[in-house]
């Protein structure tokens, strides 16, 4: 069996093991107030790592797809130009990644690695990534009213795509290995044998957590159908668009958004570095071409675009899931109340003539 248990007080030792094996480890910390964030674990802060915390707004996606990533260095002199692609990647482990964000990384894997062209930068980071998933079991801390992983079918317990999965059973945590890399860690003595009672306890706790979610029903399938068949009126898109402040927040906090722009910037004398930066379809410059022509000028066209890209059957078929993991972040950050769950609801109501 690929499951073990670990004593509560030993859970953070997993971080020590990973660090000893050469991983940089990112883990969740509490800032001031509600603020929580992933940060690299150091000797100084390692005791402040928290297992149960509200999921940080800024998703751990950035550990495989950095906000700004150097792609190559270009050196030009009299002898010509030399392009040196960036190749340096340090193995990184994310401790405490939630199931929704694991699903986000699974989505990115399908997008960046499964098509005709493979993204070499993403691939390199992904190959060097170790994921320690924590199942949301602390109803007070882990879950908020925006969470809707149950509708997106990504949580509360991820079914795969992690290396290790931890679930709080009270006195002990249950540990499940999702990969050979993860299972290898079971050689360490902190992992003890799990028995049938633990498995039963796990099932009980999960059932309880599922009942605690406020959002249990979303009309994803109806939304997918409406969007794919062009069943959403222009007026509805305009209503949604009118509420968009074009801040781009939804795309920045989304664990499943993939868009980026590329920019050259001058570094040392005569050298240029080419970087890629997250981009957002909410921004008007997103489709503007040199010369000024913009095929998607109206804000509702851009909103239409975002939800089409996330929900249309064509993309669902290609990527095997809607491009939404149910983390609820977009709903949390949106000033106009047009995060994914709200839009799904607006689409459903509009089709019902409500």
């Amino acid at each position: 069996m690929r499951a073990r248990i670990i004593q509560r007080e030993s859970v953070l030792e997993i971080i020590d093991i990973l660090r000893r094996e050469g991983y940089d480890v990112a883990a969740p910390f509490r800032g001031r107030g509600r603020d929580t964030f992933f940060d690299l674990v150091t000797d100084a802060n390692k005791d402040d790592v928290r297992v149960h915390l509200p999921n940080p707004y800024y998703p751990p996606k950035r550990f495989v797809l950095p906000h700004i990533e150097r792609m190559m260095n270009i050196k030009c002199d009299d002898g010509g130009c030399c392009v040196q692609p960036e190749t340096d990647v340090t193995p990184l482990a994310v401790f405490g990644i939630r199931s929704c964000d694991v699903a986000g990384i699974q989505h990115l894997d399908r997008f960046y690695l499964d098509r005709d062209f493979k993204d070499v930068y993403y691939e390199r980071r992904r190959d060097n990534l170790f994921l320690v998933n924590v199942v949301c079991t602390d109803i007070e801390n882990d879950i908020d009213e925006m969470c809707f992983c149950m509708c997106a079918d990504t949580g509360p317990a991820a079914r795969g795509h992690f290396d290790l999965q931890l679930m709080d059973l009270g006195e002990v945590f249950m540990v499940v290995a999702g990969s050979a890399k993860g299972e290898k860690l079971f050689e360490h003595r902190i992992f003890e044998k799990a028995d049938a009672a633990h498995v039963e306890k796990r099932r009980e706790i999960l059932a309880g957590v599922r009942r605690a979610f406020k959002k249990k029903v979303s009309w994803f399938s109806a939304a997918v159908r409406l969007v794919s068949r062009g069943g959403v009126s222009e007026q509805t898109w305009e209503e949604i668009g009118n509420r968009c402040l074009e801040c781009g927040g939804c795309t920045y906090v989304c664990p499943a958004c993939t868009c980026f722009t590329v920019s050259d910037r001058c570094s040392a004398a005569g050298e240029v570095e080419r970087v890629r930066i997250w981009d957002s379809c909410a921004l008007s410059g997103y489709t503007r071409m040199a010369g000024g022509f913009n095929p998607r000028k109206a804000v509702h066209d851009r909103r239409n675009r975002r939800f089409f890209r996330k929900l249309a059957h064509y993309f669902v078929q290609r990527e095997l899931s809607v491009a939404c993991v149910g983390c609820g972040r977009c709903e949390n950050v949106c000033h106009g109340n047009i995060g994914m769950p709200s839009v799904v609801e607006i689409l459903r109501r509009s089709s019902a003539g409500m």
């Binding site: 392009v83 098509r115 005709d116 691939e123 993939t258 590329v262 001058c266 379809c281 095929p295 675009r305």
Partner: protein, 281 residues
């Protein structure tokens, strides 16, 4: 384990000569510095494809490939419009820049074997069409009649003039030029591109014919209307789209229209497909 190719890495190329085409538009003849890269590119590319051009320090832009693979020579025709293209316009022979590609689906000319070909272009819309016109004439026996209709605002807005002069003498192709506004030296037809279809010496029918249309949005709309009057169906009209693009390989997301990425699913679409995408041309 096989090493994944870095799809974003531009390969250094050197500029060989620059030709002034029309105002703000120049043609840049170039070759890859690495010979094997040059061969690989020439073997792979098809009419209608494009490449990503890197002007180091200024950025990267997608550019149509106007040469036909049958010419064995590589060049870009580029309008000065943004910062990277402006920087390219400052470059002279010997300058080094980067190219990656070729990308996109291209015109898939072999699928039109045995058919009549009509090319309709306005202004710099000729850049992507030049490739398949030259290709079609190099493989003349593959196709039926070949007609070219090319218009610009004024005579000095017509590109690739030596080519048209040569075609006007040729029996292999009908070549019709027009300008919206003539100058003192212009003795040819005056009027929009669509008005060429009604010229007395033009016999244009939709039967077993496919029309390649490329040009500014206004011209595009009117030409579509004229072609439909002549009986062309939406799937007999083919065009190539342009969008803001950063990667060229379906990752950056900018060129996605409806369910298609212009860079990998296009840039060549039938008018029927374009209508289904549901966005302005």
């Amino acid at each position: 384990m096989s090493v994944t190719e870095n799809i974003y890495e531009p390969k250094p190329a050197v500029l060989e000569r620059v030709v002034d085409e029309i105002d703000e538009v120049k043609t840049f003849y170039w070759r890859f510095i690495d010979e094997s890269e040059q061969r690989r590119f020439l073997e792979r590319f098809e009419p209608g494809q494009f490449a990503q051009v890197s002007i180091f320090g200024h950025g990267e832009f997608p550019a149509s490939l106007p040469p036909s693979p049958t010419e064995g020579e590589l060049f870009f025709t580029v309008r000065k419009v943004g910062s990277a293209t402006s920087a390219m316009h400052e470059m002279g022979p010997g300058a080094v820049f980067g190219v990656r590609g070729p990308y996109g689906n291209g015109f898939k000319m072999e699928s039109y074997a045995g058919m009549n070909l009509v090319f309709v272009a306005g202004g710099i819309g000729m850049i992507p069409l030049r490739s398949c016109i030259v290709y079609a004439l190099a493989n003349r026996e593959m196709f039926g009649d070949v007609k070219v209709f090319y218009g610009a605002r004024e005579p000095r807005g017509l590109m690739y003039m030596p080519l048209w002069r040569e075609y006007e003498e040729s029996k292999d192709v009908e070549c019709h030029l027009t300008v919206d506004k003539a100058d003192a030296e212009w003795s040819g037809h005056v009027g929009v591109v669509g008005s060429l279809f009604k010229k007395r010496d033009v016999n244009l029918t939709s039967k077993n014919t496919v029309a390649f249309v490329c040009g500014p949005p206004v011209m595009f709309r009117f030409v579509i209307r004229d072609l439909k009057t002549l009986g062309f169906s939406d799937s007999q009209i083919i065009s190539t789209l342009e969008r803001y693009m950063k990667c060229g390989v379906g990752k950056c997301g900018h060129c996605c229209i409806g369910v298609a990425y212009v860079c990998v699913d296009g840039p060549v679409f039938t008018y029927k497909q374009i209508k289904q995408l549901g966005e302005d041309i």
